[in-house]
């Protein structure tokens, strides 16, 4: 399956990229603490987005997060 090969290649690339990262000391991470820099949305906001897409796009979900439930969702 091409999707599986793609996933494997992307994961291998990510792991290889991580190997090349230098350690950033904690006292230089103040910018990363800014809420604007959160990689994930605030949980209640993330839920309503996930619900919006899960219920309207058949290709939503599958991310390993608990989702779905009711409303005729997949």
């Amino acid at each position: 399956m091409s999707g599986r090969r793609f996933s494997g290649a992307a994961l291998a690339f990510a792991l290889a990229a991580v190997q090349g990262c230098a350690v950033v000391p904690q006292n230089r991470r103040v910018r990363l603490a800014d809420p604007m820099m959160n990689l994930n949305d605030e949980p209640l906001d993330a839920y309503r987005r996930q619900k919006l897409y899960d219920a309207r796009e058949g290709a939503a979900g599958g991310d390993g997060n608990v989702s779905g439930g009711g409303c005729g969702c997949q």
Partner: protein, 395 residues
């Protein structure tokens, strides 16, 4: 009289000296815990939040029975969705999160057909569903965390239970975090014919797993990559969706009883020199029904003051449909589905938000607020206006 008083005073002094002598060499191991007993970690509320979201949806789809038999029916829908969340710590190691989302749907597609065929209830055009989710995280040491989650969803013809466990470990002075989780979901719901007749109960189960790695790349850059697998078995439709048939009538969907789904997600957040941030998201999806999808999203944030920032959002999604998607099926036992959500489609989401904090708000350390408007447009005739606002208190 004078002698007994003198003797009593001497006795008291002697007794007090003895007491001091006993306490002069305290056991060095004796602490508060030995004297008072072990303390019970108290629950302390750290965060409370309330969010309200309203959806106003217009459009049509061939699975809907609210229209001509062989044409698309209405997917008109409004949703009012309040949510509440409480995060509390219990001692230094335990953090609990309790979260209750509620969905109030009106004019939902399954309810919009004539009353006799209303698959949800005679009440029609109104449906309420709610979830109670409880997650607990346990900090084993400064770099390792274990977590559990369990939840219950209740809706008119639907009951769902989920439970899961997860773990994460930070490496390299917390520059790298590796996380993984597994979860199970069991859904138990009413089975209907497309004319609305209830035929009993049916169920499906989902097993989910994910692994991910988050990496600090530079003082202003952090990235994450995550792979998720979901295996679903059982009744994978809602049982009431219709498929137009070449014979001029509607038939039920016929779907496989298993679905294996893969999703690979990449996220990146980059701090911008003008006190802004760029967040990028990409997701590749594939499943054994033959659906392949790509989703990309960008969020551009700009801080206006130390306690206020604004953001703009754009998301693009494209997906193929399964080979058995059709809007006019043969009247046979072969797989078929006409659900517009499973059609080949593109979608766009545009939005903007304002996020701020008010320090020292009464009993709380700060008050957090958000306001966001989004417009969702799908190429196969679906449009939604979404307004959401939230208020949170940080203690």
């Amino acid at each position: 009289m004078r002698t007994p008083l003198w003797a009593a005073a001497l006795a008291l002094v002697a007794a007090s000296s003895l007491a001091r002598a006993d306490g002069a060499a305290p056991d060095p191991a004796l602490g508060d815990t030995q004297i008072l007993g072990p303390s019970i970690p108290r629950l302390q509320i750290e965060w409370m939040a309330f969010r309200v979201t309203a959806y106003n949806q217009y459009g049509s789809g061939y699975q809907s029975k609210s229209g001509p038999i062989l044409g698309p029916g209405s997917e008109r829908l409004t949703v009012f969705e309040p949510q509440a969340e409480i995060v509390a710590t219990q001692g230094d190691r335990l953090t609990h999160r309790i979260w209750v989302p509620i969905d109030v749907l009106s004019a939902a597609s399954p309810n919009s057909i004539p009353k006799i065929a209303d698959v949800v209830s005679g009440a029609s055009r109104h449906n309420v569903g709610g979830t109670l989710q409880w997650s607990t995280a346990y900090k084993v040491d400064p770099t390792t965390q274990l977590s559990t989650t369990t939840g219950l969803h209740i809706e008119e013809p639907f009951r769902s239970w989920n439970g899961g466990i997860g773990a994460s470990r930070a490496l390299a002075d917390q520059n790298t975090v590796i996380a993984g989780s597994v979860a199970g979901v069991f859904d138990w719901f009413d089975h209907f014919l497309t004319n609305g007749a209830r035929t009993g109960r049916t169920e499906r189960s989902s097993t989910l797993g994910s692994v991910g790695i988050t990496q600090v790349i530079s003082p202003g850059t952090v990235a994450n990559i995550n792979y998720g697998l979901t295996v679903q078995e059982g009744e994978l439709g809602n049982t009431w969706n219709a498929v137009p048939l070449v014979t001029g009538v509607r038939g039920p969907e016929i779907l496989p009883s298993q679905r294996v789904r893969h999703a690979l997600v990449g996220r990146l957040a980059q701090f911008l020199p003008w006190n802004g941030a760029l967040r990028l998201y990409y997701r590749f999806y594939g499943d054994d029904w033959g659906i392949v999808a790509h989703s990309a999203e960008g969020q551009l944030m700009q801080r206006l003051t130390p306690t206020l920032y604004v953001g703009g959002i754009y998301r693009f999604h494209t997906q193929t449909g399964p080979p058995f998607f059709t809007t006019r099926a043969q009247d046979s036992g072969e797989l078929r589905v006409a659900d517009s959500d499973l059609a080949p489609l593109d979608s766009h989401t545009f939005g903007g938000k304002v996020v701020g904090d008010v320090p020292g708000a009464g009993l709380a350390r700060s008050l957090h607020y958000e306001f966001e408007y989004d417009r969702y447009v799908r190429t196969n005739d679906l449009r939604i206006d979404i307004v959401t606002c939230s208020v949170g208190l940080r203690f």
